[in-house]
Amino acid sequence: MSKGKVFVVTSGKGGVGKTTTSASVAAGLALAGKKTVVIDFDVGLRNLDLILGCERKVVFDFIQALKKECKLNQAIIHVKQISDNLYMIPASQTRDKDHLTHEGVKEIISQLAEEFDYVICDSPAGIEKGAKMAMYFADEAIVVTNPEISSVRDSDRILGFLDSSTRLAEEEGKRIPQHLLITRYSPDRVESGEMLSIQDIDDILSIPLVGVIPESRVVLDSSNQGKPVVLNSQDPAGQAYEDVIKRLLGDDVPMRFTEIEKKSFLGRLFGGR
């Protein structure tokens, strides 16, 4: 039996799209036929269940499974309405993050890695215990960054921790592979100098780019409806997430939505967007 791969989705800064990305990556992998579970590590600020539209099915949570107050299987929610292959474990809304212990998290993640092809750990913001636990047992990391300087600097800080504070780093002296995902990218605003360009971000972070998600109104709407944006294959943001899944699965797909879209003749004639 092959062991599943453990990803952490992290960023340092809050509000850059970690949970949106975790939900879309998990849903995308599941739809690609991979049995996937996504864990919400944001103890006390539970959100992932909302984004995946299964907030009404939450009975037990991650901390309870960790403290063996319930069986692990009881804490796992099958997100059938999105894919037969998609499962999630909600964060505890009432417990304290001090319950996240190395031994407890290790036991759960290794059990999940036996059963699933992919385990996605949705990290909380910051560099406190929750974020460190979410990354500790990861095999690979997706670092989510917005094209603005404070987000990039916080990601740089997180990359420092990813280099030194994971199990693979501590026990085997290895750096885990790191993927950069830029979200809320807007080529127009880069052109006008309001936003950092992909090149600017790469100069600072210098890790491989796994995707660029364009700014899109659909993202907020998808979150509110509990449908990960990757399901919206009409929208550029959804398509960009589809590309990310393909790259994570090893396909070489060219970057899209990174250049200003040429307006059609009629578009130019009548203005607007």
Binding site: D156, R157, G160, I204
Partner: protein, 244 residues
């Protein structure tokens, strides 16, 4: 096997010049011990990596010591991880130093020596000079980016970084610092007192450049060297940045 290994082993006792950090204590007595504690606490907050295992000379002037006070000084310095192995100054307390296992190096303080006039060097040496060459301490080589919040200290050797140093990162060395990449964080060379240390980088964008106590902040780095390969060094107590 045993024969060869015993043939290779050897013991040699010889002098060596090494730069060592100093803690200067002036007017220290029992009531003033807290000053030392505060200073050390500050230091360890700012640079924990620097002080761990650091050999330290205590320089005493106008101190009023007894066995208990000196033991207190030593334990405060050890508590933060540094190793106070020798004392200069206040010769009247020599017995106290030795009781704590700390060597006494004489009464001549570092600060006095610096201002002492240079002795003329003999142009031709009277005796044959034997110079023993020895490979200097190997440089510490870092091949991965130094990220914001990370601190790297190369003790008694040069530091070579074959990557970028991010904003909010701190690289320190007792010798020189070489950055084959962009230097965007803080670089401190010759930190235990080596004014000949230099800082080299492929792209200058530093938050702070420090050599042996003198420093330049970002705003005082001249415009024409920004984002360019350059070296920083000290001449006549002044920090100088030259394009490479």
């Amino acid at each position: 096997m045993d024969m060869t290994s015993s043939a290779q082993a050897s013991v040699r006792i010889k002098g060596s010049m090494t730069s060592v950090a100093c803690i200067q204590l002036t007017g220290m007595d029992e009531q003033q011990l807290y000053l030392l504690q505060d200073k050390l606490d500050d230091f360890i907050d700012n640079a924990p990596a620097l002080i761990r295992g650091m050999p330290v000379i205590l320089e005493m002037s106008n101190c009023h010591l007894d066995g208990r006070v000196f033991a207190g000084i030593v334990s405060l310095v050890r508590r933060v991880g540094a190793n106070p192995f020798a004392v200069r100054g206040c010769p009247e307390y020599q017995d106290l130093y030795e009781a704590q296992g700390v060597s006494y190096l004489g009464d001549q303080l570092d600060t006095q020596r610096r201002v002492a006039p240079l002795k003329p060097e003999p142009s031709v040496s009277q005796e044959p000079v034997i110079i023993e060459t020895q490979i200097a301490n190997e440089a510490l080589i870092i091949t991965t980016p130094v990220r914001s919040g990370q601190q790297i200290y190369a003790r008694q050797r040069d530091l070579i970084i074959i990557s970028n140093v991010s904003n909010g990162a701190e690289v320190m060395s007792d010798g020189s610092i070489h950055v084959y990449g962009a230097l965007r964080g803080r670089a401190m060379a010759g930190v235990t007192g080596n004014e000949n240390a230099r800082i080299f980088c492929s792209s200058m964008d530093a938050e702070l450049l420090l050599i042996d106590g003198d420093y330049l902040i970002r705003d005082s780095i001249p415009e024409h060297v920004l984002h360019k390969p350059c070296q920083t060094f000290k001449r006549d107590q002044k920090m100088i940045i030259d394009l490479l």
